[in-house]
Amino acid sequence: MANVPEGLYYSKDHEWLRVEGETGTVGITDHAQHSLGDVVYVELPKAGETFEAHATFGSVESVKAVSELFLPVAAEVTEVNESLNEEPEKVNNDPYGEGWMLKVRLAKRGEVDGLLSAAEYEDFIKADGE
């Protein structure tokens, strides 16, 4: 069973968002990393770039496939997890911790209300798997 921690926001594209005031941290979920298999490369944007909600901000490549990464909410990138260049396996080993991808400044704080809670995301992936 995939790990879906409480207190984070989730998207149907399998990204998570941890909100702290006006800023947030973004990564992919345990369910996503599990479906992808061993991650070999993560392509991320540069700090300073801005994205609309649901825009593609990068891609993650595993031994099986390449998947686009979608930003759950509109935001400006303030920091990128550069360590993933050398150690992309962090996405598999610790998707909610060391495997984080972006720190962002949220454009519209209210947008997070449209995202899923932990319980809702759990139901979503369960329904998806059936």
């Binding site: 490369y41 392509e43 540069k46 770039e49 891609s59 490549e61 496939a65 390449v66 686009e68």
Partner: protein, 448 residues
Amino acid sequence: MRYIPNSPEERLEMLRGLGLGSAEELFDSLPPDVLLKRPLDTPVALSEPELLERFEAMAAKNAAARRPSFLGAGAYSHYAPTIVDSLIQRSEFFTAYTPYQPEISQGTLQAIFEFQTLVCQLTGMDVANASMYDGSTAMAEAVLMAERVTRRTRVLVSPAVHPEYMRVTETYVAHAGIELGRLGFDEDAGRTTFDAAQLDKTVAAVVVQSPNFFGCVEDVKSFADAVHAAGALLVVVVTEAASFGLLRSPGACGADIVVAEGQSFGVPVSYGGPYVGLFATREKYARQIPGRLAGVAYDKEGRRGFVLTLATREQHIRREKATSNICTNEGLIALAATIYMTTLGRQGLQEVAAQCAQKAAYARRQIGALEGFSVPHSAPVFNEFVVRAPSDAAALLRKLASGHNVTGGLALGRYFPGRPNDILVCVTETNKRADIDALVAGLKEVQS
């Protein structure tokens, strides 16, 4: 190619099977007014000896192919050892198709891997792909790659880049949201000039050809620092790959992407093709490289093998997000270049380059000393140079060909209307001293 003949009896049998009386009935469904109602106007069938005679007679009319030629400008006549042709004609190599299945393609994949290794060594770069269509499309791909790497959309190109490479690049980027700007040119030196003020944060890359279209060797190193300080990439284009044997590698001069035409390596000049593009870059940009890459892999018993690698950049996986839409590359021509480079080796490539440069220097000196002729550019050259004639270059070259049986070079007015009297002369190791002397003597006579 297999020729499958059929006899009149076999044709009748097929027609009977279709319930038809004649082959013409196959076309009954076409409107009568689009049908040709007479036999095709083709010559009568010839016997094999007659056919050979006919083609020999036609070939004999091609006088230009047998006279000494000093044409270069992107296509270079070098000697190809016979081993090149005999090895590439081995049936094991008779597929241009992509070796997706490593279990049946080890030979092809190893050849590609060796090609990439040689290209890296020549260009001074870390990673090279399995080849592009030609030098011009390689340049266009480099511009597109610079945009991907930097996420900037302006590219500054030297006006001394081959004009046809420029047109191909313009076509490639016309709908890619990339704007092409121009660098300056120093007429006296024959070199690209560069104003640091042009380099703002919108510039993705600076593209310089060296030796440039006018034959002058650019001071590539002098560009590198400013280009990198602005966060842009330096793309170096090489149309005459033989120059790698003599000049400092673009990688050592600070290039980020090196693209080149590989025709000089064992591929004859032949009505514009086939060519092969070389494409190399720094390892940190490997994920953004266009086209195929062969890599080394080890099986579970630790045995070395070759596979296509980083394929997720490519269109059969990434679709519209792929780094390029190149499909099957110039595999056979890349193989020819590999065999050529391997046969000549480091020393052989250096010897070819040295002969080219020495013979070109001799020709340049001799023509420059002719009354009425001058050498307009002062920068060092490799094996091509511009001479300024006292009258219209195209007319002089026609007289030279008809009266002296020498193809004297390219009239630059074709590409640069402001240079009506300029001739681009190319000298390679295949031009004998007697040929050069005939060129000089011919030029002296036709202009007087």
